[in-house]
């Protein structure tokens, strides 16, 4: 199994290790609820070095990214910022989602999911060759996510920067960006593993607790952030996945992959919607739900540590009523549909 350079640390900290897409990663270090609450209320640090880092080289990086991504790279091209985008096939189906970082000058970095790394490597290389762009896959890079309301105070002890949400700081091969996957203020720190190890231990020495992937999942779901492979797959497209905001059709001459196919999907009958229930039990991914006039499927469902109830995402008709039903162990449960960002909706 693959391991990150922090594997020995996770074991020593009592991490419960699981196979995550071929990587041995900590699911929790004891209690995922305590870890979740630490990130919501204070700060926590995640090792997410299993994710894939690709650095681009060559003069035509912008043209390549204009072709590759439905979101428009020109929004960040000279700003040293980060941009979220899905990755589409020619049918408009979602192959993955990623963040592209502008590193300065005309250099960009892509960070995508773990399970899709080989597929992406092939896809990026295929498209990049048309633009004479080289894709440098960083197989042993460190990605550390420092997340939570106190994350800036901790970062200040390491390095003086003024970066705000979605901004990028670089210093030789160290990159710090105001991004994350928790719905909290936070930073993602990318470097080689030697520098990564130094930073990780410095953060831990400031009293920050390591957080496992289970809490990462409940944190992202409370913030209404999609998980690739669960809330969206190749069978979905941005318009049925709450991602219409990532499709930039404004500049008519930007011919990105999937553009033609998406023109017919803008008023997709299905949407990704939030749900919650006040009843006991947890409706999970794959559960069927019904409502007056239709039915749908839960794509992610969990018990929310912040709101102390079952929340999740489901794919249902765009024109749905406010309430629905689902079965949990032969018991009928009433649920309410809502916006996907539970942190705003349920607070």
């Amino acid at each position: 199994m693959n391991t990150t350079y922090l594997n020995a640390f996770h074991h020593a900290e009592g991490g419960n290790m699981v196979d995550f897409a071929g990587w041995e990663m900590p699911i929790n270090y004891g209690s995922q609820i305590n870890e979740h609450n630490l990130v919501r209320q204070e700060v926590g640090v995640f090792d997410v070095s299993h994710m894939a880092v690709f650095d681009l080289k060559g003069d035509n990086q912008i043209s390549f990214l204009e072709k590759l991504l439905p979101n428009n790279i020109n929004k960040i091209k000279s700003l040293k910022k980060a941009l979220y985008s899905p990755l589409l096939n020619y049918k408009g189906g979602i192959l993955d989602d990623l963040i592209v970082y502008h590193l300065g000058d005309s250099n960009f970095r892509l960070v995508s999911n773990c399970a899709t790394r080989e597929q992406n490597k092939k896809w990026f290389n295929e498209i990049a060759s048309e633009f004479n762009v080289e894709v440098d896959f960083k197989s042993d890079y460190s990605i550390i996510a420092l997340q939570g309301p106190s994350s800036k105070a901790i970062l200040d002890k390491l390095i003086q920067t003024n970066i705000k949400n979605f901004e990028v700081y670089t210093d030789s091969n160290l990159m710090i960006a105001g991004t994350g996957y928790t719905g909290e203020k936070g930073f993602e720190i990318i470097s080689d593993k030697t520098k990564g190890e130094e930073i990780w231990h410095e953060i831990i020495n400031h009293g920050v607790k390591p957080i496992g992937l289970a809490a990462r999942d409940t944190l992202r779901l409370e913030a209404g952030l999609n998980l690739y492979g669960s809330d969206m797959t190749e069978e979905n497209h941005p318009y049925d996945s709450n991602l219409s905001w990532t499709v930039d059709l404004k500049s008519k001459d930007r011919d990105f992959i999937g553009r033609d196919a998406l023109q017919t999907k803008t008023d997709s009958p299905n949407i990704l919607c939030g749900f919650y229930t006040n009843e006991r039990g947890v409706l999970r991914s794959g559960a069927k739900i019904s409502y007056e006039g239709g039915s749908g499927t839960i794509t992610s469902g969990t018990w929310s540590p912040t709101f102390k109830k079952n929340i999740g995402l489901c794919r249902i008709d765009r024109n749905h009523p406010n309430e629905g039903r689902a079965f949990l162990r032969d018991k009928e449960i009433n649920l309410f549909f809502c916006e996907t960002n539970f942190l705003k909706y349920l607070k």
Partner: protein, 128 residues
């Protein structure tokens, strides 16, 4: 892993049973089971008076991660449930062999207890 109390008997599906002085049998889930489940957020307990067969599913324990059936180690009638678990299911994580018990049974046949795994045998099951 914490020591497994040697006055308990086990099913290989991780439930424990303890014979009390009044002849009832208290049932819960093992430390190993709560560790596998992670943070427990709900339990569904049986109704008092319900009759259950040995290895019949009688309760549900649900963690953030997954839901799991709880089986009865012996046949008999439910005489008491641990209502504290309805509001504080996390005590199963904190105290699986003591405060985190699920229910008590008036056993139909006390000999059934003898056929369950002892703590040594269960230790082997949970480590395999």
């Amino acid at each position: 892993m914490a020591d497994i109390p040697n006055n308990l008997k086990f099913l290989d599906s991780h439930e424990w049973a303890r014979l009390e002085d009044d002849g009832t049998v208290t049932v819960g889930i093992s430390d190993h089971a709560q560790e596998l489940l992670g943070d427990i957020v709900f339990v569904e307990l049986p109704d008092i008076g319900k009759n259950i067969a040995k290895k019949g599913d009688i309760a549900v324990v649900e963690s953030v991660k997954a839901a799991s059936d709880v089986y009865s180690p012996v046949s008999g009638e439910i005489t008491e449930i641990n209502e504290v678990l309805n509001d504080n299911p996390e005590i199963i994580n904190a105290s699986p062999y003591d405060e985190g018990w699920f229910f008590k049974i008036k056993p139909q046949d006390i000999e059934e207890l003898a056929n369950l795994l002892d703590s040594e045998a269960y230790k082997k099951v949970s480590e395999s």
